[in-house]
């Protein structure tokens, strides 16, 4: 796959291109409204939904707050059950571990279960460099892989493609795709079944992620729909699971919360078609050699952020994407990461740090703070709170160090050298802060605006319904407002002046 997120422009620019693609917007609007309706219906069936959300958040928080202990218990349980546990600080270490296992067994082809962690570390690209072919077996991942495309959604990476586009990708890129392939989803799924069957039957090694890892028992769980996961987890001899360290839950019993929250939030089903659990090696059944790679790759950095660490509760359901009005219009590619949408807007800066990359720094601003994501989140991640917090971290990272008078506590990999010239926005905020800390100053500015308003009332000819005079264009940064929106002219008198004049009588 040559497609890459590297070098993506900052969100506003990437969004502008996406917004211009009417096919994309049509596909997204259709898909997200379908899933929103399904989710709302099955969530509405569960009378204790709010309590389940609280329970999910509490379990995850309790686990995260003692993550070291839970990981050590997980390691012990897995080892006792015959699995080999590896630890990887970053993507490079994790990729090297997986490739090393393949090379040790002389394997040059692996089948893959859809996994966000392996996408995050760009495992397929690394394996390809080592001469190892990685076959994505999830239908949407296959569409992305065949189309030399990038994922744009957590659950449905090819959500930006409609059925007609998918048929074209299959016809052009899938060996043995029937010439008379229709764009009926059932036919497209059947073509994928045929295409991957031989791979499943002959694969010696599989790579998976895990939705949950149970510390007490060493049980891993994969939640899926198509059966490609079951194939990968069952038929090969060797199974390597790359698991983010935040995926651990303390006990088996805790899954009774997440197996209710996840399917309903994710695919909008009461239960997803297939869930597999396995606890180490089972003699005579499934892979007889198992490896688990526990992946950090920025998670401990996120954990150190006392407001942001709640993002590590995320169970990758993608409900936040489906309800997000920004995501619905821009699609996932604009976020420049395998984690798009609201969760991407917070997780990427948390995992990778702010202040060193314009694209990352733009993500916390890729939200109108409408809060629909918080409302839908099954583990109650307070997205608006985290977004606003991360915005302050972005701003702080760009302040002169001396100005703040504190030591740099940022944990960015690269030491940050930022331009000292303040942005116009910073100047404006400082000015606003100066004016708004004193009602006298504000009142004087309002009197100036009132004078302008009286002048404009005489010269402006356009008015909005109701009679209010409007301006059709503003200079400077205000021009970004008036591209599509009129703006009311200043009133001839502020409320404050009216109150003083009238003494509060209406």
């Amino acid at each position: 796959m040559s497609a890459t997120f590297v070098g993506m422009p900052a969100f506003p620019d990437a969004a502008r291109s996406a917004l211009a693609d009417s096919q994309l917007r049509g596909n997204l609007a259709h898909a997200t409204s379908t899933i929103r309706g399904k989710r709302a219906q099955v969530v509405g069936e569960v009378s204790e939904w709010e309590e389940l959300r609280l329970a999910g958040a509490a379990i995850k928080d309790n686990t995260l707050h003692h993550l070291d202990e839970h990981l050590l218990r997980l390691e012990r349980s897995l080892t006792e059950r015959g699995a080999t546990v590896h630890w990887a600080r970053d993507a490079a270490e994790a990729c090297a571990i997986v490739a090393g296992i393949a090379q040790q067994h002389g394997v040059d082809e692996v089948v893959k279960v859809k996994s966000m962690a392996t996408q995050e570390i760009e495992l397929n690209e690394f394996l390809a460099e080592q001469g190892i072919a990685a076959w994505e077996t999830d239908l949407a991942e296959l569409i992305v892989q065949l189309g030399d495309d990038l994922p744009s959604h957590i659950l449905v990476p090819a959500i930006h493609r409609n059925r007609a586009e998918i048929r074209e990708i299959f016809r052009a890129k899938m060996p043995g795709a029937p010439d008379d392939l229709t764009d009926n989803p059932a036919d497209l799924a059947a073509a994928a079944r045929l295409h991957l069957r031989q791979k499943f039957l002959s694969a010696r090694m599989a790579v998976s992620g895990a939705n949950f890892a149970v510390a007490d028992t060493g049980t891993l769980m994969v939640v899926e729909s198509e059966g490609n996961g079951r194939m990968c987890l069952t038929l090969p001899d060797i199974l390597v699971s790359v698991v983010g360290i935040e995926k651990v839950v303390p006990s088996w019993d805790d899954l009774d919360v997440f197996l209710q929250l996840l399917p309903r939030s994710s695919t909008g089903e009461r239960m997803n078609p297939y869930t597999s659990t396995w606890t180490g090696v089972t003699p005579g059944d499934g892979p007889q050699e198992m490896h688990v790679v526990l992946l950090d790759n920025g998670r401990t950095r996120a954990l150190a952020d006392e407001v942001g660490r709640q993002a590590l509760r995320c169970i990758r359901c993608s409900a936040c994407l489906n309800v997000c009005p920004v995501y619905e219009r821009t699609g996932g590619h604009a976020y420049g990461s395998v984690y798009p949408g609201p969760i991407g807007a917070i997780l990427n800066p948390l995992l990778r740090g702010v202040g060193h990359d314009k694209q990352l720094d733009s993500l916390p601003y890729a939200s109108s703070l409408c809060g629909a994501c918080f409302e839908a989140c099954p583990v109650r991640i307070d997205f608006p709170e985290v977004l606003v917090h991360l915005r302050s971290k972005v701003v702080d990272a760009h302040r002169g160090r001396a100005e703040r008078g504190v030591r740099c506590t940022l944990r960015a990999e690269r030491p940050v050298r930022l331009g000292r010239a303040p942005k116009p926005e910073a100047v404006a905020m400082k000015a606003a802060s100066w004016a708004l800390r004193d009602a006298g100053r504000l009142g004087r500015l309002e009197r100036l605006a009132g004078a302008a308003g009286r002048l404009l009332a005489r010269v402006l000819r356009r008015s909005a319904p109701g009679g209010r005079r409007v301006l059709g264009s503003l200079p400077g940064p205000g021009a970004r407002w008036t591209t599509a929106r009129d703006v009311p002219a200043p009133p001839t008198e502020s409320f404050r002046e009216w109150w003083q004049r009238e003494g509060g009588r209406s």
Binding site: C370, L436, E446, S506
Partner: protein, 244 residues
């Protein structure tokens, strides 16, 4: 009953008629309205853009201005939400325990207008008359930050002469989002375009909401499109008696 009007900076400077309407409405309902003259802004523009240090003196001036009032009424879900949910964050940033204590005091007494009318005064029918076809946009912060629920609708349904039409996809954000409207202007406008389309589908003459910031955005597009649809703050509808 005595209440302090938190008029909000945008209403003070750009939409004074909304402030006047709140004064008229509350006075009609027997409330003794005061306007603490030291007030400026809730600091939300700074907080939401990430400028916490700049927000500290503004929040300080806010708590000074509103100290001692039992009820503080704001014709804005967004500003009321900012005070209740964000002033604590700003106070923590200041490392000033006295400010934190003052913030806790004042923020608990801030009500969005429909909350104040329904919960504190206990009225649904404020005696208004507004003989127009209206549709209502429940702004995000009223809906999801403050959880005002159906209070604005209950107030509107009791207005004589008012014909209320349901807004399709009402709960979806209009795309304003404060500085989002200029930092991500294209996305903001795309969201606004859909909101405007839904408003126009209702055939209403007037779009009503509880936040003039959102209405400035939606209304700016409605005006640009020469739609003929007028935008009006909830307070102005509730204050209206149209000559009666």
């Amino acid at each position: 009953m005595r209440a302090a009007l938190l008029v909000t900076c945008i209403n003070d400077a750009v939409f004074p008629d909304t402030g006047k309407a709140v004064v008229r409405l509350l006075s009609r309902l027997g409330v003794d309205v005061e306007f603490p003259s030291g007030q400026t802004c809730c600091a939300q523009p700074m907080v939401n853009t990430g400028y916490l240090d700049e927000a500290v003196p503004v929040v300080r001036s806010f708590v000074d201005a509103f100290a001692g009032y039992d009820a503080i009424v704001a014709p804005s879900g967004s500003c009321a939400g900012s005070v209740r949910h964000q002033h604590g964050i700003v106070a923590r940033r200041s490392d000033d325990a006295a400010l934190a204590a003052a913030v806790a005091e004042t923020s608990a007494r801030v009500y969005e207008l429909s909350e104040f009318l329904v919960d504190v005064l206990g009225v649904d029918d404020v005696g208004a008359y507004f003989p127009h076809a209206v549709t209502y946009h429940p702004t995000c912060h009223s809906l999801r930050m403050l959880d005002v629920g159906d209070r604005p609708m209950r107030l509107l349904r009791a207005v004589r002469g008012l014909r209320l039409t349901e807004l399709p996809a009402a709960e979806e954000c209009c795309g304003f989002g404060g500085t989002f409207a200029v930092k991500n202007a294209d996305t903001s406008v795309a969201m606004g375009a859909d909101k405007v389309r839904h408003v126009r589908e209702t055939g209403a003459e007037v779009l009503v909401a509880g936040d003039n910031s959102c209405l400035m955005h939606i209304g700016g597009m409605l005006s640009r499109q020469r739609s003929g649809v007028r935008v009006l703050h909830l307070a102005e509808v509730l204050a209206s008696t149209e000559g009666r």
